[in-house]
């Protein structure tokens, strides 16, 4: 392998990569901002709605969870604008797609969290005269959310990985920038390796944080059982 590595060429455009990373984080952050509350609404509809609400919501959740994100992104970017007669730029399409897509996953996290709370908690709340809504707000959700935090963060990391797709509709995220630089410098090996390294550093740091949190929660959970 007589390849001459040359990172200098690439490092000249390093700030472009960082700008790309910023866009990656922007899309991820906004998708979380919209996706989490929407996920809660979907979960509550699926858990407590009547059949007319429960079934369609369940179908939408399953649809968003089982179709590839790229198919969703293309649909929102290429199909929706014509269908709805509105202009949607890549950034908007990306935020829309990933908000909806992640809301389906967050809905399932919420649902699992709510269902994991012991029946006795519902009964105790009911016994002091709470309505279901109040019991949910005051007793169930606060406990459920705490349990769900690791699953939420894992999902958020998963979301960040998925946003690499936005390059396919020409939104300038990190991967899109890397591809551009690779084409202009003919240094694909260095550029893509560096891009991968940046992703790894960011995502691995997040993963380690989640793992740390999980072990800490497990430890405090042991002493606060029941």
């Amino acid at each position: 392998m007589g390849y001459d590595w040359d990172f200098a060429v690439v490092l000249r455009d390093f700030d472009l990569l960082l700008l790309g990373l910023l866009n990656t984080l922007k899309v991820t952050g906004l998708a979380l901002l919209f996706g989490v509350p929407l996920g809660l609404v979907l979960a509550l509809c699926r858990l407590y709605g009547n059949a007319l609400i429960r079934w369609p919501v369940g179908l939408v959740i399953e649809f968003l969870r089982t179709t590839p994100p790229i198919a969703q992104l293309f649909w929102f970017f290429f199909a929706l604008p014509i269908l709805a007669g509105v202009e949607i730029n890549p950034f908007e399409a990306a935020v829309l797609t990933f908000s909806l897509q992640s809301s389906a996953f967050f809905a399932e996290v919420f649902r699992g969290g709510i269902q994991s709370i012991e029946r006795g908690q519902w009964e105790a709340a009911k016994a002091i005269g709470m309505t279901r809504n109040r019991a949910l707000r005051r007793v169930i959700l606060p406990q459920a959310v705490k349990r769900m935090i690791p699953a939420f963060l894992e999902r958020a990391i998963e979301l960040m990985k998925t946003t690499t797709l936005v390059g396919t509709i020409s939104y300038a995220d990190l991967l899109f920038r890397a591809n551009q630089i690779a084409q202009s410098t003919y240094r694909a090996l260095e550029v893509f390796t560096i891009a991968a390294a940046i992703y790894f550093v960011v995502i691995f740091a997040c993963s380690l944080g989640v793992r740390l949190l999980e072990t800490r929660m497990a430890r405090s959970g042991e002493s606060t059982a029941r």
Binding site: E118, G120, Q121, E123, A124, A125, K126, A127, I128, G129, M130, T131, R132, R134, R138, V139, P142, Q143, K146, S223, T224, A225, R226
Partner: protein
């Protein structure tokens, strides 16, 4: 005498299984009723029908002289959740597994009902919560987390939480069954104190000695019916029914306090 609770032909079915097969019972203000029976006899279900944790399948429940539920078409009575919520607020319940809210401190647990259900001002809730925590002897644990308390302490907090609603009837559903033997006493003492103060109590328990000392009336349930009913010395010392006798024989831990028995004789 004021009637607090009247059950007329109470029936509860779970799918095909009829757990309560027509219970008639009247409870006066200040009475302490102990429900005995083997597991599956329906005693817990009976209790849970009183505060409508379970909705009766048939018969009628009168609380504080008022029939609960609306007459529907035919014999069916319709219960709407909206009507049941305020009733539960007036009937306190203590569970076998305490069910304290783990994300709230002891004080917050006790304040929660008065604050969010009754909508009382904060300061009043806190004063009330502290009063009832003092009553169960746990005022000093107000800022502790439930997980840091012993089982007996948790159960006393649960009692304070129910009392803070200032209910008219209190239900105890095997309140000491999940406790280590050495912690049972403190909880029973707390319940006894309530009985002495004239609170109306319905108690499901396996502690026969306690039943003997605290009860005004003991009910023995079998297969969803009240098989035998009477003063504690009648049911516990001279049971008429074969089933009651064999149930009592099965509880070897039951030691009668000697003096009151002799007084009765």
């Amino acid at each position: 005498m004021t009637e607090m609770l009247r059950l007329e032909g109470l029936v509860k079915r779970f799918d095909d299984l009829e757990v309560l097969k027509g219970i008639d019972l009247t409870v006066q203000k200040g009475e302490t009723i102990v429900l005995l029976g083997a597991s599956g006899s329906g005693k817990s279900t009976l209790l849970r029908c009183v505060n409508f944790m379970e909705v009766p399948s048939g018969g009628r429940v009168h609380l504080m002289g008022e029939p609960v539920g609306r007459d529907g078409r035919g014999a069916a009575i319709s219960y709407s959740e909206r009507d049941l919520v305020p009733i539960r607020a007036r009937v306190g319940m203590v569970f076998q597994h305490f069910n304290l809210f783990p994300h709230m401190t002891v004080l917050q647990n006790v304040m929660e009902g008065p604050r969010t259900v009754l909508g009382l001002p904060r300061s009043e809730c806190e004063a009330r919560a502290r009063k009832y925590l003092d009553k169960v002897g746990l005022g000093w644990k107000a800022d502790a987390w439930p997980s840091h308390l012993s089982g007996g302490q948790q159960q006393r907090v649960a009692i304070a939480r129910a009392l803070a609603m200032e209910p008219e009837i209190m239900l105890f559903d095997e309140a000491t069954s999940a406790l280590d033997p050495e912690l049972v006493g403190e909880v029973l003492d707390t319940i006894k104190e309530l009985a002495d103060e004239g609170m109306t109590l319905l108690i499901v328990t396996h502690e026969l000695g306690f039943a003997y000392t605290v009860a005004d009336r003991v009910l023995f349930l079998s297969a969803g019916r009240i098989l035998e009913e009477g003063r504690p010395e009648e049911v516990l010392l001279a049971p008429r029914e074969e089933q009651t006798q064999s149930f009592l024989r099965g509880h070897g831990r039951f030691r009668l306090p000697e003096t009151p028995a002799q007084e009765q004789a």
